[in-house]
Symmetry: C2
């Protein structure tokens, strides 16, 4: 383990904290760009409460609504234009992962004259690395992506059908105001996707990271166990605030860096999924739910000991030693059963996706991230053929 | 769970990183106050390497050596005086917990005209809360206190025999340069004390925190399990860098806030131990090793379910339900056996301490922290009689 780590985002966590939003935002600016997605924050009353809190604190705002579920670079450009024109000095992201991701990129795009797509890794020769950005305050309305307190964002270019990422310390939000009560009205399918999303964030680092990270392993297993215990409670009783609290906290720590630190892990399942959902407007977590178990079965053949540990510690199975592939696969089966039990899809056919573009997804994935020799980094590295085999096993 | 959290300390972690110290420090200042303890950093060659790195980066320095194992407020005042006189603009803490604690308080005392003891909680009417401090870079040479990346410090007033604390966000170090190779030469007894210290930091929050913190519980159990797995490896083979890495990372996360966040836990065992070690110049962790299991047996009677969870998850015991006190006590026995197995004392008599001052310790503890009704906060709250009973059971 040899790494640097710093997550400076201030967390304001707990039921009822939405009412503190205005006071928090007023520490960073006087006029906010209030970024939202579809109409759900308005239908639920969350938008009105946020506005009330901003007004009470004397914070002006202008709206940038309509951020898509897979946020587009054109929306980023639109938000930045509004922020510039209106003279906003702080960004408030009120929504799910897409709103928060878009807001982070808007925060840098507002202070950049060029095309914001230059900031997103998409195989270009020189990625533009911004050095200034407006302060961002995130208010997640879903427990899922962990975007509220990390420095990453995933953006889609609808013209070129490329979905890719930016991840730089500049984009850490100043504050995450996390009020689990906001998730009480989240429908069952989105709640389940959030649980799948957060667990997949964990399995990526856990299964693709370096060896000998015992603390990180225990953290990862602990958050997976917590999500598997409290997630179904939130699904069974959507207004169970305690369950919403535990799922939200699990989602936040799943991707704020505490579990990933020092693991030096690539995210092959995410890379593959991003390519798939660039072609099909599916929920990110639905794609993850399909690809992750299929990928695990492929990867367990070469990284068996880690999957045995997963099977033993998360599912209480008992292996005959660290090379017990049967036990490793049984753990993956149990994991897939869990995903099914909460209503997540585990085959492409469930989403009406056929095998026509499997090779295209694989090749496109390599355009975003590659080892330079035609392989996707991970444990193990994956060729186009490997990826197609994984996709096909999830057909 | 309703809390705010922010730990802004940048971590530079990994074997060999001492050579980067100068570059890191040069980001924050041009002239460092280099704070050290006894002669061990000089005998081990660590001091020379640190100096070499500072010089290579063009950072001047003046020394403040001789910080005591239980750092004294007079040493803080001395360090601040040197920093002021010499015009230091950054503090480098090269040593164990006492050096790092003293350095953090020096960083604020340098910019404060009053008596630095005003900053330390000792029952005074108005605690002085500093608002400015020099930047601090910590370089731990022990894996123990976690002081390298938190905002607390414990200081002793040798005149009044009071040992107490300050804990404010201002005192977060800017950077922790954590090089586990520096701990390879740490003697066995100090290595064992470090393991005890880090585990006690965890049990305090785990056993005194609020209910329903499942993620934090898993984190806590995970770090204890890791310390119990890798600690004995570091003791068996002191030059096993991998074991030193895992123990050091465990010690850091044990008290950087990730495990404690949201638990709202008081630290009764620490409060009692500080009073004992204010009277006897014993290693902090030796006092913890004696008091913690004794306190656990007392507390398990009223908080049984949590101790049952501890017994089951950390020691693999099987309980007959959450009120199985026998199982809870068996877990504590196993924990005490572990402490003995690594060479830590578990009775006062092992350190030549009798029962003469038990009531004094208890009463003095309440002078530092009390609920206003003569009880020490914790689960359960402890009266003077309770504390004396706990001390006596560890005689």
């Amino acid at each position: 383990m040899n790494f640097e780590f710093q997550n400076p985002t201030r967390l304001v966590f707990g039921a009822g904290n939405l009412s503190r939003l205005g006071d928090v935002v007023s520490e960073y600016g006087k006029k906010a760009l209030l970024v939202t997605g579809g109409g759900s924050v308005k239908r639920s009353g969350v938008f009105d409460k946020a506005v009330e809190s901003l007004k009470a604190a004397g914070v002006e705002f202008v709206e940038c609504s309509g951020i898509e579920p897979n946020p587009r670079i054109t929306s980023v450009a639109r938000g930045a234009e509004i922020a510039r024109t209106e003279g906003c000095d702080v960004i408030v992201a009120l929504g799910g992962g897409s709103v928060m991701d878009a807001s982070k990129v808007i925060s840098a795009a507002t202070l950049y004259d060029g095309d914001p797509w230059n900031m997103i890794h998409h195989g270009q020769e020189n990625v533009y690395v911004p050095t200034v950005a407006l302060p961002v305050v995130t208010v997640p309305t879903l427990a899922a992506t962990g975007s509220e307190s990390n420095c990453g964002a995933v953006i889609t270019n609808e013209e070129t059908t490329v979905k890719s990422f930016i991840q730089i310390p500049l984009l850490y939000p100043k504050v995450a105001v996390v009020d689990p009560e906001l998730t009480v009205g989240v429908p069952k399918d989105q709640t389940a996707y959030g649980i799948c999303d957060l667990i997949t964030h964990i399995t990526e680092a856990y299964l693709n990271g370096i060896d000998n990270t015992p603390v990180q392993d225990r953290f990862a297993e602990g958050v997976i166990l917590t999500a598997m215990e409290w997630g179904p409670k939130a699904l069974a009783n959507p207004s169970d605030v305690e369950a919403r609290v535990q799922v939200q906290w699990s989602a936040l720590v799943a991707l704020n860096g505490w579990l990933q630190v020092g693991t030096d892990a690539p995210y092959p399942v995410h890379m593959m999924e991003h390519t798939v959902s660039a072609y099909h407007d599916i929920t990110h977590a639905a794609g993850l739910s399909i690809i992750n178990p299929a990928w695990m079965r492929f990867a367990a053949k070469s990284n068996t000991a880690k999957y045995v540990q997963f099977a033993e510690r998360v599912f209480g199975l008992k292996a005959n030693g660290p090379d017990d592939l049967d036990c490793a696969l049984a753990g993956i089966d149990r994991f897939e059963e869990f995903l099914k039990s909460i209503g997540c899809p585990t085959c492409f056919s469930e989403l009406g996706i056929g095998d026509e573009l499997f090779e295209t997804y694989a090749k496109d994935t390599l355009k975003i991230v590659s080892d330079g020799k035609g392989n996707l980094p991970g444990r193990p590295f994956l060729s186009v053929e490997d990826m197609v085999e994984i996709f096909r096993s999830a057909l």
